[in-house]
Symmetry: C2
Subunit: 294 residues, 2 copies
């Protein structure tokens, strides 16, 4: 009964999502640029493929969880995955991409007679492994309904945001806008508390229990106050994601002053060498701005 | 057993705090520039006074919940409340003031032999009426311990942030920094969702359940999406409070780029005539920036 799925992009997120589909009895054929990721899926009950085209051959549904829009275009159009899929197949792009890029991909996919849903996700590897992701989907209602069981298998918070492909991507961009600004705001507040000679742990406790609270303050605040080598998500991820927010703002002719300021702070942290550290380390930008000359 | 308290500044917050102290068996003598506020306290079991000096006569503890540092200085020094209090009295300033102004007041109070604690509060009129405020206190440990029962009567979340007067004010400033930036960030995100043609109610639902969540997003987001004439706190309050954040940043030589950007957005909303509306209406700044010319 379950339709066959081609899953392209088996990284930390994609691999976990594909395995979740396998667990829920879907027939999943996977491909990734890294052969070890393909082997891992095969060892978990999926089928490995040697190319995007091979994975897509005869598939009812093509899920792409690649790094960006360029990789999605390459797999679909250059590496012929789209052409190899069934003539009535549906393409689902879960990667975080700029909305206008997603729209352009959707137009080419629909021109080839296939359905298109853009469906970026949020919830991390844990959500991917447990099938509890938040999925921000957009696309024609009938096409969305057709792949709803597959999306619901991957995410417990499933939203249909609109009929126009790219609106899912736009929602993800808005999500990242708030996440990025909130991390930077937590850094600005906690650094200011440090400057005032307040014990930053007490400051964090006060802020976490007041109207100043945010999910990111609670998640990242402790690692701003007490350095920890754990990296849940890197500074450079927000250099990229707030970059995507600002690119999307440019494309939509929309001024985003807070996002622009937050991006500069992450950029500076990356420029100081913290790019691969946890995104909480954006607080180092403020510490640099407070440091007295020798 | 309970010591006598002079309470100066009986507005919405101060009046409720003074009544809470009366309920908890404190002898409270109150003064306010508005005689009706004094009469209200008297009708709730407190004692009314005709001047700050009269209220303070023989008081063990002077609590000030006036509008700003100017009013606190006026009551204490010009209107002679400090001189009228007991020689071993303690002054508690609960008003939201700039940290350096609080420090200056503390120096004059301590020079006159009285103890000083700065203790700004958070939690609104509800918290004031129920004695559940968050209190961000600073001052010499022994002085703080001396007035701890009185502070604990007003607030269930009591923090001692440091020995130096002004650190409580600094903590409150940091609290307002995050509150203000989070409201503006919610507006930036929801306006961008509107721009992308996403139903803002669905966008708010997505964001409220994800890592993009903040207390302010949940509190103010619904009123950004659906206009409501209710005013919990006005745009002009954040014009003032983010102004105080930036003044404090200047005094401390601390760059606060997100606060600076957020302040501009509230200023613009006020400039467009939304100053007395709910602070959620900062979203009108973004709507103005998206409006096509006629």
């Amino acid at each position: 009964m379950h339709r066959s799925i081609a899953f392209i992009g088996l990284g930390a997120m994609g691999g976990a999502m594909a395995e979740t589909l396998v667990k829920k009895q879907y027939k999943v054929t996977g491909y990734d640029l890294h052969p070890e990721a393909v082997a891992r899926l095969a060892s978990h009950g999926g089928t490995g493929a040697a190319s995007a085209e091979e994975a897509a051959r005869g598939a009812d549904i093509l899920v792409l969880m690649v790094v960006n829009a360029e990789q999605a275009e390459d797999a679909l159009f250059e590496k012929l995955a789209l052409e190899a899929s069934k003539p009535n197949a549906t393409v689902i792009v879960c990667s975080t991409c700029a909305p206008d890029r997603v729209e352009a991909i959707a137009r080419r996919v629909e021109k080839a007679g296939r359905g298109f849903v853009d469906a970026p996700v949020s919830g991390g590897v844990t959500g991917a492994a447990h099938g509890t992701l938040t999925i921000m989907a957009a696309g024609k209602k009938a096409v969305f309904e057709g792949v709803k069981p597959v999306l619901a298998a991957m995410g417990s918070n499933l939203f249909h945001l609109g009929e126009q492909p790219g609106q899912g991507a736009a929602m993800k961009v808005v999500n990242q806008l708030l996440c990025g600004v909130h991390i930077a705001a937590a850094a600005e507040g906690l650094a200011f508390a440090e400057r005032a000679g307040i014990d930053p742990k007490i400051a964090l406790e006060v802020l976490s229990g007041s109207a100043a609270q945010s999910w990111m303050l609670k998640a990242r605040g402790p690692r701003m106050v007490d350095y920890d080598s754990i990296v849940t998500s890197a500074v450079d991820i927000f250099v990229k994601d707030l970059g995507l927010v600002l690119d999307s703002g440019r494309a939509a002719k929309m001024a985003l002053p807070l996002s622009a300021a937050a991006h500069q702070l992450f950029l500076a942290a990356s420029g100081m060498g913290h790019g691969h550290e946890d995104d909480s380390q954006v607080i180092e930008t403020y510490r640099a701005l407070m440091k007295k000359r020798d």
